[in-house]
Symmetry: C2
Subunit: 218 residues, 2 copies
């Protein structure tokens, strides 16, 4: 193969992967699937896409080495191909937030609006977790908590938080987390708990970032 043809083939292949990642719905699907595998129905419910449109997006992602699937009865479950893909996705999002001023500003504004501007980093959490006065709170839906969660976290889904306030000790400092840096469930939890007088901060990132750190692929 001559050099020109080789480069064209390589760059076309790279471009195929990047195109498949370039759609906003698909990026959100990656965030969702980084919590654990999901059926098309689950993806449809969260994204608001039509069944056929979601399926089309999923096929594009599957044909571009982003997702894999398995079938069980009526249902097809999708998941990310591997942890390396998740780590790459995290690198992209972290780069964008840190280096693209507009995006960093939007995230900061969102955090401030919800009183979660003093988010805790994973490194900080690692130190804090030995403190008995810390309560780590997973506010994702139960099915996601069951797929995987940060060690030691308790599960109270955001939409049940109000009913479970009595289960939360007032003297503890709460660290709330959810799906990742753009997940608003933890922001909402911080806002609500703040209003109720609890001492609470959100985790800057989410379960998937913690997971990758545990896997220690680097």
């Amino acid at each position: 193969m001559d050099g020109r043809k080789f480069k064209d083939t390589i760059y076309t292949g790279l471009s195929k992967l990047l195109k498949a990642l370039s759609n906003p719905y698909r990026l959100e699907i990656i965030e969702m699937l980084s919590q654990g595998e999901k059926s098309v129905e689950g993806i449809v419910q969260t994204t608001g896409l039509s069944f056929a449109n979601a399926s089309q997006h999923l096929q594009v992602m599957k044909n571009s080495n982003i997702l894999k699937s398995r079938k069980e009865g009526h249902y097809v479950y999708y998941s990310l191909v591997n942890n390396e893909l998740l780590y790459l996705y995290q690198h992209i999002t972290k780069y964008a937030i840190n280096e693209i001023a507009e995006l960093g500003k939007i995230l900061n504004q969102q955090r401030e609006d919800n009183k979660s501007g003093d988010a805790v980093s994973l490194a900080e959490l690692k130190e804090m977790i030995y403190n008995n006065n810390i309560l780590l709170l997973d506010v994702r839906p139960p099915i996601e908590y069951k797929s995987g969660h940060i060690s030691g976290a308790i599960s109270i889904p955001m939409n049940e938080l109000l009913e479970h306030l009595k289960d939360i000790p007032r003297e503890k400092e709460i660290i709330a987390y959810c799906r990742g840096p753009f997940c608003v469930l933890a922001d909402e939890a911080v806002k609500l708990l703040n209003e109720k007088g609890y001492k609470v901060r959100r985790l800057d990132e989410g379960y998937p970032e913690w997971k990758i750190k545990q896997v220690e692929i680097i």
Copy 2:
């Protein structure tokens, strides 16, 4: 800003960056600019794009936080916005080569066809470089060597290699490198030097990968 709007804004912003990266010519432009800044003319010559088409691609990249530019007389010079972008580009390419079987196969085939299958990694180079029997050869164009090169490398552009054979000691092992893992200049140099009876291998990566390792951003 409500949660839905926030996520839409974030993912739209991420998608804009990824779309701007998703074109094969643009990926090659990034490889070129990772050697150092270049004028539009230089980009036109290497890519074969028309002036106006190249300019349009460059504007898209500039408006998506990938490139920056400066003007000097008639000429406009483009460069990557920062080392972090280059590091992200490298992560993407490394991921694709390692995890997408088709692409890995194409690269391996290219290496074998040019007798450069036993490429030297940067880590290996670091150990080898203290050996006086090693000659590090930069086969990129001189302007790129001048913009930046691996410490200790000598410059012989690939298209002048035949005329400079007499400058290369026969008892040394040569490590040839160029613009990155997809650059074929080093492959061509290995092929030629092999045929002339020299002991030669190529560096797996290129100057930009070396540079990022030096900067030690991680």
